[in-house]
C-alpha cells in the first residue's frame, strides 16, 4: 500500500534489466519499497540486478517473462499479484531496433513492434486488470518522445512508442475512478546501454533523472511525465511544424 506521503511499498518491473527501471527501483527501495519483482528473460544480468537490489535491503523475486510471448503474460502477472499486492507496475521493456537494417527487413521491424507495442498492450492489460481487482496501485508505462511525431530517422521505433503511448493514455482514462493510476513517461534521449554508441543529442538525459521524474510523478499522480520537462514544449512546437519543413529537418 502507498502511505500518506505517496510512498509505495512494492514494485513489479516488466523488463527487469532495463536501466531506467532498475535505477527507479533503487530510488524506490531507498524510500519504502521492500518487495521488488523483476520480470524478464532469464539472464546473468537479471540475476545481478536482483542481487544488487537485495543488497539495498529489498526482498527480490525474479520471474521469467518475455515481452514477445504475449500468451504467457496474464498468467505470469496474475501469479505475481497472487503472492501479494503490487503498488507500482513499471512497464519498462522495449527494443530500439536498427532503423536502417529494419527498413530492409520487414520481419525484423515487426519484431520491434511485437515487443514494444504488442507486448506492451498485452502486459499492460494484464497488469491493469490485476491492479483493478486489487483496487489500488499504479501502472507506469515507459513511452518516448519519439512517439510524439514520427521522424524519418527512427519511425519504426517511434511508431511502436506512439501506439503504446496512445494505448496507455486510453487505458488511464478507462481506469479513472477505479483507484488505479496510469502514468505515461516520455523520456527523450537517455544515455543507457540501449543507446550506447549513438551520437549524443540535445536535451539528452540520464536514467537517474528519469527515475527521479517517475518517483515524483507517481507521488503526484501525474498522467504524463516528460523527461526532461522541457520536452513538453519542444515536442509541442515540433508537432506543429509543417510536413514539408519537418521532413527536411535533420533530426
Amino acid at each position: 500500500m502507498k502511505d500518506a506521503l505517496g510512498a509505495p511499498q512494492s514494485l513489479l518491473v516488466l523488463g527487469g534489466t532495463s536501466e531506467i527501471a532498475l535505477t527507479t527501483a533503487r530510488a524506490m527501495v531507498a524510500e519504502r519499497v521492500r518487495r521488488v519483482v523483476l520480470a524478464g528473460r532469464p539472464s546473468a544480468a537479471l540475476d545481478a540486478a536482483a542481487e544488487q537490489l537485495r543488497g539495498l535491503g529489498a526482498t527480490v523475486e525474479v520471474v521469467g517473462f518475455d515481452a514477445a510471448e504475449t500468451d504467457d503474460h496474464e498468467k505470469t502477472i496474475d501469479e505475481v499479484f497472487a503472492a501479494g499486492d503490487i503498488d507500482v507496475v513499471l512497464l519498462a521493456f522495449g527494443v530500439l531496433g536498427d532503423q536502417d537494417a529494419d527498413e530492409k527487413s520487414p520481419a525484423a521491424a515487426a519484431r520491434v513492434a511485437q515487443v514494444n507495442y504488442v507486448g506492451g498492450v498485452s502486459a499492460g492489460l494484464a497488469a491493469a486488470n490485476a491492479l483493478s481487482r486489487q483496487g489500488h496501485g499504479a501502472l507506469a508505462v515507459i513511452s518516448s518522445v519519439a512517439g510524439e511525431r514520427a521522424r524519418k530517422s527512427n519511425f519504426i521505433y517511434g511508431s511502436t512508442k506512439a501506439g503504446l503511448d496512445a494505448f496507455a493514455q486510453g487505458l488511464g482514462d478507462k481506469l479513472h475512478g477505479t483507484g488505479v493510476h496510469v502514468m505515461v513517461v516520455r523520456p527523450g534521449f537517455v544515455r543507457t546501454k540501449m543507446t550506447e554508441g549513438l551520437p549524443d543529442v540535445p536535451l539528452a538525459t540520464t536514467p537517474e533523472v528519469v527515475a527521479e521524474a517517475i518517483v515524483k510523478g507517481l507521488r503526484r499522480k501525474s498522467s504524463v511525465v516528460w523527461v526532461p520537462g522541457q520536452f513538453r514544449f519542444v515536442m509541442s512546437a515540433l508537432r506543429h511544424v509543417p510536413r514539408p519543413i519537418f521532413r527536411k529537418l535533420n533530426i
Binding site: D3, A4, R32, H136, G179
Partner: protein, 461 residues
C-alpha cells in the same frame, strides 16, 4: 409478496473511493451498509478474496477503515441502543452508535461516556477497535477499560460474546485490534455518573515546555481531565510553551443558582461547515505561526473554576464540521507518539526538532498517560504523548518524520495506529512487544485473513 424493502433485504454494494480523516491515500472498495445483524452476516458471506473491514464514522486519520478492492461494511446503520441499566450506569448498544449519540442521550440522565477522544463523532465499534483515549487517561485509562462485553461476528460466521474475564485473549486482541479479529456488533459500556453537564476548568499558561512538564507532573493527580495545547513553532526560551487546561465535571453546588435549575442541560450541533474549496497551502508556517501566537495570547495566564460546556471543553473541533478540509485537497497527517516517563529528553528533542524545522502544526497536544491496559495493540502506556498534525505538502516533511521516528524509537516510544498513515512497518514489532500474541490470536480466529484493511496490508499486521 411486497414491493417494499423487507427486514432481511440485502443492501447493495457500491464501489466508492474511501479515505481517512487526513484525506490521504484513498482507495476503492465495495461499501455495504447493513442495518441489522443478519445483514452483517450476509455481507460477510458475500465477501470476495479481498476480505472485509468495518468502518464507522471515518475519523481514523489514515487507512485502517479502507480495504482496497474488497468490502467495507459501513456500520453506522447499526445504531440501536439495546439495553440501559441506570442503576449500574450500563448501556448496551450496537457498534454503529456514536459517542455523540450516547452523550446526547445520557447526559440528561446524569451519565457521561467513560472516555472520549477529541471528537465525539466516533462509533462505539471504532472506539473499541482503536481503544481510544481522552483527557482522563491518567485517571481512568482508555475506552476498553470500561467495556464489559462485546458481541462479535467471527470469521467463521458464528456470533460470540466476549468479556475480559471469560475470553481474555480474544478480548484484548480486539481492544485496539483495529477491527482485525472480527466484526463488533454491539458492546456493553460502563458510563460515568455526572451531577452537571458543565466542566469546572482551571487554565494555566506556561512560558515553555520545561515549565509545562513540571506543572503537569505536579497537578495531574488533582484532576480527572487534563491536557495541554502546545505551540510547536515557538523557539528559544519559549520552546514548547503550553496552555494547560485541567478540569472536573462540576458538582451541583459549583453551579450558580440560575444554572442549577437545569444542571444536565446539553446542546449538540455545530457552528459552521468548512467548504471544500480551501487552497492547499493555506495552513503554512506563517498562518499557523500567527494562529499559535493568538491562541497562546488569548489564554488566561492563570484562571480557576471556569465553567465550560462539554463541547467547549472536550470537543471544540466538533463545532466546525468537516474541519479537515482546512488542509485542502492534499490532506494532512497526524503524528502521535508516546515516550515513557524517564524519557523526557526524547520529548524535548522531538519538540526542538519540529520547532527547528518550522513544520506548521496547530493542533499540537501534550498529555500524560497513566497505566496502559492489556490490549495487545493498545496504544497508551505510562508516559508523555504528543500529537501533531502536519499538512502533507509541508516542505521536507518525509525527512522530518524520519528524524522524529528515530527519536521515538530510541526512546522506547511508539505510534498510535488510529493516527498512523505512514509508519515504517519494520518498526512495528519494536513498538508493540505483544504484536506476536495479537498475530497468534488472529491466526486462530481468522486463519484465512478475511478481516483486512489497507493499514493491515501496509504494516503487515
Amino acid at each position: 409478496m411486497s414491493d417494499g424493502p423487507s427486514a432481511d433485504a440485502r443492501p447493495t454494494a457500491r464501489r466508492v473511493s474511501l479515505n481517512g480523516w487526513g484525506r490521504t491515500a484513498p482507495s476503492f472498495a465495495d461499501v455495504v451498509r447493513p442495518t441489522n445483524r443478519d445483514q452483517v452476516a450476509s455481507a460477510l458471506g458475500q465477501r470476495t478474496s479481498r476480505g472485509v473491514i468495518a468502518r464507522g464514522l471515518g475519523r481514523s486519520y489514515g487507512d485502517p477503515a479502507q480495504n482496497a478492492g474488497g468490502t467495507v461494511l459501513d456500520m453506522t446503520g447499526l445504531d440501536r441502543i439495546l439495553a440501559v441499566d441506570l442503576e449500574r450506569g450500563l448501556v448496551t448498544c450496537e457498534a454503529g452508535v456514536s459517542l455523540d449519540r450516547l452523550i446526547e442521550l445520557f447526559v440528561p440522565l446524569g451519565f457521561f461516556v467513560p472516555v472520549t477522544p477529541g471528537t465525539r463523532q466516533v462509533t462505539v465499534g471504532g472506539a473499541i477497535g482503536a481503544d481510544v483515549h481522552g483527557k482522563n487517561h491518567h485517571a481512568d485509562g482508555s475506552f476498553c477499560n470500561h467495556v464489559l462485553s462485546i458481541d462479535m461476528l467471527m470469521a467463521d460466521g458464528t456470533e460470540r460474546t466476549i468479556t475480559p474475564d471469560g475470553d481474555p485473549e480474544l478480548f484484548w486482541a480486539t481492544a485496539g485490534g483495529m477491527g482485525l479479529t472480527g466484526l463488533i456488533l454491539s458492546a456493553t459500556i460502563r458510563m460515568t455518573p455526572i451531577e452537571t453537564s458543565l466542566a469546572s476548568v482551571d487554565t494555566d499558561r506556561t512560558k515553555n515546555l520545561d515549565e509545562a512538564m513540571a506543572l503537569m507532573a505536579e497537578t495531574d493527580e488533582k484532576y480527572t481531565y487534563t491536557v495541554a495545547w502546545l505551540d510547536c513553532l515557538a523557539k528559544g526560551a519559549n520552546l514548547g510553551r503550553c496552555v494547560l487546561t485541567c478540569g472536573e465535571f462540576a458538582a451541583l453546588d459549583d453551579l450558580p443558582a440560575k444554572k442549577r435549575r437545569d444542571p444536565l442541560r446539553f446542546r449538540t450541533g455545530s457552528l459552521l461547515t468548512v467548504p471544500d474549496l480551501v487552497p492547499g497551502r493555506l495552513p503554512n508556517k506563517l498562518t499557523m505561526g500567527l494562529f499559535n501566537e493568538l491562541w497562546y495570547r488569548k489564554a488566561p495566564k492563570h484562571k480557576v473554576g471556569q465553567l465550560q460546556s462539554i463541547t467547549g471543553f472536550f470537543h471544540p473541533l466538533d463545532l466546525v464540521q468537516e474541519w479537515n478540509r482546512v488542509y485542502g485537497r492534499t490532506g494532512f497527517l497526524q503524528y502521535q507518539f508516546v515516550v515513557p516517563f524517564g524519557r523526557e529528553d526524547g520529548l524535548v528533542k522531538a519538540v526542538e526538532t519540529i520547532s527547528a524545522h518550522g513544520a506548521p502544526s496547530s493542533l499540537t497536544v501534550l498529555k500524560r498517560f497513566g497505566p496502559g491496559n492489556a490490549g495487545f495493540l493498545s496504544f497508551p502506556k505510562p508516559g508523555w504523548t504528543l500529537t501533531l498534525d502536519f499538512p502533507t505538502n509541508t516542505p521536507g516533511l518525509a525527512r522530518l518524520l524520519k528524524q522524529l521516528d528515530e527519536i521515538v524509537l530510541t526512546n522506547e516510544g511508539r505510534f498510535y495506529l488510529a493516527k498512523d498513515s505512514r509508519m515504517d512497518p519494520a518498526d512495528l514489532a519494536r513498538m508493540y512487544p505483544r504484536l506476536e500474541r495479537f498475530r497468534e490470536v488472529r491466526a486462530k480466529v481468522d486463519p484465512d485473513g478475511i478481516f483486512v484493511s489497507d493499514q493491515a496490508r501496509r504494516l503487515g499486521l
